[in-house]
Each structure stands twice: as C-alpha cells, then as structure tokens.
C-alpha cells in the first residue's frame, strides 16, 4: 500500500451539492472499489482556472488522499480519463517530508493571519523609526543649547579677565 494524493476538477455543469455527490460517486467510491481507503478529503468548491480548460473558465476542485496498491492505480486512472465529469486530475505520491494534510480553508486563513502579522510588524517598525528620528532631533536641540551655554560661560570668563586686568589696584 502506498500513499497517494489526488487533485481533481469536477465539471461545472453541476451545482455544488451535486458536485459533492459526484466526487463520492466517481472518485471516492472507485478508490474503495480498488481496495483502497480514503484518508483525507477536502472539497475546495468552485474556483476559476488560470486559463481555459476544454473551453470552460471554472470548475469544482477537490483533493483526496488515499492508500492504494500501486498495481491498481493504472485502472483507476483509466476510468478517470474516460469519465466526462472529471475534467482533469493529478495523482502524485504524498511527500514524506510534508506534514499533516491541510484543508484549503485553513491554508487561506493562515495566509491572511500572516499578512496581518506582517502589516502589524511593519507599522511597529515605522513607529519605531519615527520615534528614533524624534529622539535624534531632540538630542540635536539639546546639544545646541549646551553649546550656547558654553559660549555664555566663555563670555563670562572673558569679562572677568577684563575686569581683573583693568583693575588698577592690582600690581601685576
């Protein structure tokens, strides 16, 4: 027994409920007929194609994972090739590196959550930048006032010196 993953497109001349029953009829039941067992099922629903397939612009997507003897796979593929309700299908081995199967709804949710997190991180980075710029500005201002203070001190020292030099009572 080997683990396989099937992605199939169901024809769009059915409504959604009929498409779900069609999946059972022409995909899942045929797998069990060939002594396989379906371990995971995910019905994506209606989805547009990136290009026209048999003149159609959209179809119902479904993903199944199943265990099957490799000898029986060719028979299954032959049947699906004949079936007019299966527009296109792709059977691939389940990658041993892949974790537990994820449904499409969960995947979309994760993506959205990730996007929000990224946005928040960006906002925080921007506010931090703005804060650092403000700090730098205030530091600049502080250093300027210090300079002014030191200049004032210099003036005071000069005046004192002048006073002492001008003082006639001192013998230098």
């Amino acid at each position: 027994m080997k683990k396989y993953e099937l992605m199939a497109i169901i024809a769009n001349d059915l409504d959604e409920k009929k498409a779900v029953s069609q999946v059972k009829e022409s995909l899942a039941d045929k797998i069990t007929e060939q002594k396989g067992s379906v371990t995971f099922e995910d019905f994506w629903g209606a989805k547009g194609f990136a290009y026209k397939i048999h003149g159609q612009k959209w179809g119902y997507y479904v993903v199944l994972q199943f265990e099957l003897d490799p000898e029986n796979l060719s028979e299954l593929e032959r049947e699906w090739n004949i079936d007019p309700k299966v527009v296109r299908f792709l059977v691939s081995k389940v990658d041993p590196r892949a974790g537990d199967p994820v449904t499409q709804a969960e995947r979309v949710k994760e993506m959205e959550a990730q996007k929000k997190e990224d946005e928040i991180a960006e906002m925080e980075a921007e506010t931090k930048k703005a804060a650092s710029v403000k700090k730098a500005k205030s530091e600049d201002a502080a250093s300027k006032t210090e300079e002014k203070d030191s200049e004032g001190k210099k003036d005071a020292v000069d005046k004192k010196l002048d006073q002492i030099l001008d003082d006639a009572s001192l013998d230098l």
């Binding site: 992605m7 990136a50 290009y51 179809g59 993903v63 296109r88 792709l90 990658d95 590196r97 892949a98």
Partner: protein, 74 residues
C-alpha cells in the same frame, strides 16, 4: 574596489520549509515572472535543492489550472 554584490539567502532555507506544496498557489506565484515563466535562481537567490522542488510544484500547479502558463491568452 567596486561594492560587493548583495548576498542572497534562500527564503525557503531561512523559514525552514522542507516541502513545497503545489496547492499553495499564492506562494508559488511569487516566483514566476511578468510573462509567467519560472523565475531563475539567479534573480531569487533560492538554493538548488529548493529551486528543483519549487519548479516541480509550479509545473503541477500549472497543469491543474492554479497558475497560468503564459501571460496572454487568445
């Protein structure tokens, strides 16, 4: 001395992704060009191991109509 070229780090290695899923079209779409061909490793900085897996995933996604083959269609 001319400035050193920018060093790329493989994005999949950085996020420790081992398996690239062909069903995740949004991620794969980041690695195709304006004319919808697979972007070369030279431009994305992806390591060879991940580029091979990525290109296989993109090809599978294209076959199932998740990604386009070309930009313009008649």
């Amino acid at each position: 001395m001319p400035p050193k070229p920018k060093k790329f780090i493989c994005t999949f290695c950085r996020s420790k992704v081992d398996h690239i899923d062909y069903k995740d079209a949004a991620t794969l779409a980041q690695y195709i060009t304006y004319y919808r061909s697979i972007q070369s490793r030279f431009h994305t900085g992806i390591c060879l191991k991940h580029q091979k897996r990525l290109s296989n995933a993109i090809k599978k996604a294209r076959f199932m109509g998740l990604l386009p083959f070309v930009r313009y269609e008649k």
